[in-house]
Structure formats: structure tokens, C-alpha cells
Symmetry: C2
Subunit: 386 residues, 2 copies
């Protein structure tokens, strides 16, 4: 949870602006970059001189929305619902989102225990058709399970079809999963996934750009996809027809230099046609989780566990430090055992373990977690850093 620190005004300004402009709007993104959030909010709130790049009519529309904005109330409602606001400058802000340039989110509303930043370091997006085939659902669940068992975080959009199968596959493997919604995170969409999204918020993270209570629109679904692409190391499209929204995510991932992958299907299946189109371009064909990890794990510059822990143990959060200390020295242990030892819940232990995984302290092997060689060396060496 992020408190009101020195950035409290900036936080309130961003929440205010998030009520006025649409997600991914690059015109206002440019205003923020060139003039700062403060000045943009001042002009909108105090009916100041119009900012450039919009018509008078559009400016009037923005002023009308600004008149309704109440960031303190949004923050209070969110806190009541167990939702925090994470924005640039926060320790939990995932730096990879900055690569979106002027389309960078103003901030993200977050439900769930783990650190979004830590989890994003080791995450893969699994996306695809809502109206998927049984084959697509099977592949999404199987890939998600395999990624979870390898210590990777599965990110998807919380929708029916491939998204839901991916989240469930990760949850079922006792793994980590993040749902990026196109609605307020307190107002899950689709409503038929209320229970699933609640479970994700318990065991993982539910995030979104839109303020509490807000609803999705077609363009919000499309623009949500850039967040999924930017947050993750790579995007896997499981099933997608021509012109599917999942292809938007894949192309956003390509533009951002992320790995783009596709799961093949029968050439006779309309729901694989979009994936095949991708695979005829730059995307890499994958058929199992090992092939996904082979690709996304091969980014030396982003793989902290290849260079050893980057974060000294004494900078770990107390919760993560306790979980790390609870791991046995020479064998692997399952989350319930680790949780008992650390004096916390299994869900919290899993959240911490995935964070520690991102930092190179621990590894997941099937159901068990163990210290990495590097972590063990620093223990054995008798010079504990925490």
C-alpha cells in the first residue's frame, strides 16, 4: 500500500486527470510530458487557457468531466475496496510501462498483495479469443500451468475464453497471475467472472487504469491491451481470428520490442487464422511453456537472476524477508510449509515467493520452492546481508 508521501499532490493530480482523459490518450500524454501533471490539472480544474492539440468543443468536454472529478473521493472508495493507486515515482511502478511514451498510463489501480513491479519482471501475457474452441482453452490452461510451475507470472485480460483459461490454469497450479482490466478494478468485467477475478485478487493481482466504478468501452478494451503488452516480457496469442483484439496486443508487444509468440492450430480453423497470420510475420511459434520460457528467459539484460540478486536483502520488504528466511537451506518446500514457518498465509507466501523469484533469490520446481545457488552461497558464506 502506498501512503501519502511527498508525492501526495502528484498522486491526486494523476487520479484527477485519469477521470478527465481516456486511457492511452497521447495528446494529454504529451501535455503531461511537456508541462507536468500539475499544470495540466490546473488548466482543466480552473478553466484555464486551453491546451494545444484539441478542438474547442473537445476542450469543453474535458472541462465538463473535470468538473465531476473528485480524486480524494476516488482514493477513499478505492481504499475501502482494498485498492491502491500506483503511479510513476512509486517503488511499485513497473518501469517497463514508461516505454509506452505519451501513451503511458497516468497510474494503475491495483488490488492484491504482491508488488506489481516485481511480478512484472517475470511475466508473460497469454491472450486470445473470447469465443475460443476447447482446443484454445486447453492450450491456454496448459501453458499457464507450465509457466506458473516454472516461476513465471501469467498476465491476461480477465475475459471469457482464452483469458479465463489462462488465469485458471495459473491459479490451479498454485501460481501467480495478473488480470489487467478495462474497467474499474472494483467493478470486474465480465460480471460472470466476478468470482474468478476475486480469486485472482486474493492469490495474485487485479490492475487497471480506470478509476473505481468505471465501465469498459470497445476502445478501452483495445487500449488496455497496450498495458498488457508493455507490462510483460512477451505476449503469447493462443487463438485469434483475423482482426481479433488479441492481435492488437501482439502488435503492441512487437512495437515495444517484446517477444511475440503464437500457438498454432489447424489451418482450417478460423480461430487460428489470426495467429497464423502473426506467425507468418515476426512472431515465434510455441507449443508448450518450455518454448515460451526459452524465448522470454533469454533476455540477459532483463534477467536479474542471471547476474545474481540486484536488491540487497536489507532492502527487501519485511514480508519478503520473512518468507526468504523461512525457506529450508538445502531442499525445496511447498508454499503451505513456507507460510507456516514465516507466520503468514499461503497466498501471501506465494506472492512473496514470486517476488523473490524475480529477484533471483528462489526458484520454483513443480510444486516446491527452493533457494537459488546464489542465495545459498550468500547464506553459507556466513555474511547474511539481511
Amino acid at each position: 500500500m502506498t501512503g501519502d508521501g511527498p508525492a501526495a499532490d502528484d498522486r491526486l493530480d494523476r487520479i484527477f486527470l485519469g477521470r478527465v482523459v481516456e486511457p492511452g490518450d497521447e495528446v494529454s500524454g504529451r501535455w503531461v510530458r511537456e508541462r507536468g501533471v500539475r499544470e495540466v490539472v490546473r488548466r482543466l480544474r480552473d478553466d484555464g487557457e486551453p491546451l494545444p492539440g484539441v478542438t474547442a468543443r473537445r476542450w469543453a468536454g474535458l472541462l465538463a468531466r473535470a468538473g465531476q472529478a473528485d480524486p480524494r473521493r476516488d482514493l477513499a472508495v478505492a481504499r475501502e475496496a482494498g485498492v491502491r493507486y500506483v503511479c510513476p515515482g512509486d517503488a511499485e511502478w513497473p518501469g517497463t510501462l514508461d516505454e509506452l511514451g505519451d501513451a503511458r498510463p497516468l497510474g494503475l489501480w491495483v488490488r492484491g498483495r504482491p508488488s506489481l513491479r516485481m511480478w512484472a519482471l517475470r511475466s508473460v501475457a497469454l491472450v486470445g479469443a473470447r469465443a475460443c474452441t476447447p482446443y484454445g482453452a486447453h492450450m491456454a490452461a496448459t501453458l499457464a500451468c507450465g509457466l506458473a510451475e516454472r516461476g513465471w507470472v501469467v498476465v491476461s485480460g480477465g475475459a471469457y475464453g482464452v483469458d479465463g483459461a489462462a488465469h485458471r490454469g495459473a491459479l490451479g497450479a498454485g501460481g501467480a497471475t495478473v488480470a489487467v482490466l478495462a474497467s474499474g478494478v472494483d467493478r470486474p468485467y465480465p460480471s460472470g467472472h466476478t468470482e474468478l477475478i476475486g480469486r485472482i485478487a486474493e492469490q495474485g493481482l487485479v490492475v487497471g487504469e480506470l478509476p473505481p466504478g468505471d465501465h469498459p468501452t470497445p476502445s478501452r478494451f483495445i487500449l488496455r491491451n497496450r498495458v498488457i503488452a508493455a507490462l510483460t516480457r512477451g505476449t503469447v496469442v493462443v487463438e485469434a481470428a483475423y482482426r481479433s483484439g488479441s492481435l492488437v496486443t501482439a502488435r503492441a508487444a512487437q512495437r515495444l520490442g517484446r517477444h511475440t509468440m503464437g500457438v498454432p492450430g489447424p489451418a482450417t480453423s478460423a480461430l487460428s487464422a489470426g495467429v497464423h497470420e502473426l506467425l507468418r510475420g515476426e512472431a515465434v511459434l510455441v507449443t508448450d511453456a518450455a518454448e515460451v520460457v526459452e524465448l522470454v528467459g533469454d533476455m540477459g539484460e532483463l534477467a536479474p537472476d542471471r547476474r545474481g540478486p540486484q536488491l540487497p536483502r536489507d532492502l527487501l520488504e519485511p514480508g519478503a524477508r520473512r518468507v526468504l528466511a523461512a525457506l529450508p537451506a538445502r531442499r525445496s518446500a511447498a508454499p503451505p510449509e513456507i507460510a507456516r514457518e514465516a507466520g503468514t498465509t499461503p497466498d501471501d507466501a506465494i506472492a512473496r515467493l514470486y517476488e523473490l523469484r524475480a529477484l533471483g533469490y528462489v526458484e520454483r520446481h513443480g510444486d516446491g520452492w527452493k533457494l537459488t545457488r546464489q542465495a545459498m552461497v550468500s547464506v553459507r558464506g556466513g555474511r547474511p546481508r539481511c
Copy 2:
């Protein structure tokens, strides 16, 4: 049919040597390249000084086989069965086979009317599993039909499964197809395909390296695949398990700089696993005939119809010239009509039309054939060259 011309001795020497060494044997290929066929045959027939690169025991084995060879009898048996021998130096020899280097066939036994060289210019290999799924058979037949309708020649191995479906798909579309066998072309293998291979010899071509009456072995199947790869502009693998022989064809095609393509299938299908492995490498994913043609048709240097006819009309064989003359000036016509006009059979007309297609004189559109613009210009210009 190639008569005994000035190269008669060379032809008999090659047939002799083909009885002694195995297809694709690079040691004897090097002997031929360095010393000439004549000298190699002399040493083997007259029990001369052993040639380098083989053990004494192996040399003795070759001498034993040489003692049984009777090239005049082979040629007579072949002629009786309507089979001709095509070798380097013949007008019908496909120059692309020379790219096999020391593994180049000594010659090919050929059944069927069309010119192997002409047909090879516009050919694509469709290969895959013998024990294919109904999906694989469907895709092979559909691709073959689509390629045939676009005026391309479908080359395959005459086997059960994908091969058979490909040949049948081309035949069913009134198209051109070539079976490259790993047995003597008068002794079709598998015997269950005797009727199919007979039909291919009627409407297309049946070719092979092995002399009349010879039988296939596992290594002959593997080495046959290099001929399929070298003969064609590209190879499409429809279904193949890991370590399938079709992958040998695909890798041979890659080494020869040919286009290599694969048809995707479910990631859960063991019979698509080999194809997916290829597609994770250099091979291009294809889902229909248009995508295949887009790729193989894009080789300017090998596409004679892009630069206009290369062979002047007065160098065309009389049969091809008659078929060309039988085409109506401004509309398309079907093979039976063209055959009537040219005074030949529909099968012969089809054989000639595909040769003329390779030379850029005619185009196929669905069921009809018509003169290309270039051919019409030379007719309209009033200066017929034949």
C-alpha cells in the same frame, strides 16, 4: 524419349554404375566428378586398380555388383515398360539436380509424357507422414488442388498418407503431378498404390534413380528425398512427427536454398510436432496454396514467365507447338477442347500445357487455359516464331 545419340556410351555407363553404387553415394559421385564416368566404369568392370575412399572389402562388394550389371538389358526392359533414362547432357535433364554436387543422381528413370525439366521449373514438393490424420490428408489434397489450379506441378513420393493425398488432389483437379519413387519406376511401391502410380504415369510423371525391378530400402527412402528437394522450387511439409523422413526432405531443401514451408496443426498433435519444429526455425508457415505460390513464385531468377518466354517457339517440340497453336486467341479453353483441336489426348494436352506454362506461354485459371499476354503479343504482332 531420348534415343541413342552421341552420348549412348555415356548413358550405358551411367546405367551400369547405377547398378553398382547406391543412390546419393558421394564417394562414387566424387570419382565421377574427378575421373569421369567412363574411367570409373572401366575400373569396376575390368577389375582394375581400386578407386580411393573405400575399403578393400567394399571395393570387392562393388566388383561383385558390377559383375551382375547389364545396362543394355536394363534399357531394353525399361523401354518395354515405357520408361526412358534421362541423364546429364539430355535436354530433359533438370539442371537444378546438379546443385546436389557429388550426391547428384547418375540419371533418372522416367515414365510419362511431359518433359521432366519443364515441369520441374514450376514445381512444389508436398510431403508428409504416411500415417497422417484426416486433417493432414485434407490439407495435402486441398493444397495440391490449389497449386494445380494455379498451374503448378505437385511433386511427392507416392507413399501412403500425405503423399497419396497430394497426388490425388492434383490429379483430381486435372493438374500436373510427379511421383519420385525409391524403387524401380516399373515396380511401384507401395503395391497398394499401383493403380494411383499408374494414373500418375498417364497424366504426369513417375521418376526414380533405381533401375527397373529394384526395390526400396530404408536408406533409399531417405536418399530419395534429396531428389524431391532439389527438383522443386520449395517443399511444403503437411504433417510430420519428430524425426520423420519428411523433415529430411525439408532440411535438404533448406540446404539447397529452396523455400521450406510447413502447414501448422494443433500443438497437441504428435503428427504436427515435426512441422512445428521446422516452423520454429527457418520454415515459413502456410495455410493455403496462395501462400505457397506467393513464396515460390517470388524467385525472379527462376521464373521464366517474368522475363517472357526463353525458348523460341521454333525450338518447342512439335507436340507442344501443336497444343500452343490449338489455344484460342482471346479466351480460355479446357484441356479436352484443346486436345481435340491439337489432335491429341487430354492427358497429353495437359502435359504440354504445363510445359508451356513453365515457359511463360500459357496460364491456368481454374479449369481453363489461355495464352499469356506475352504469347498473344507475339501472335498479334504478325511475326510468329514457329
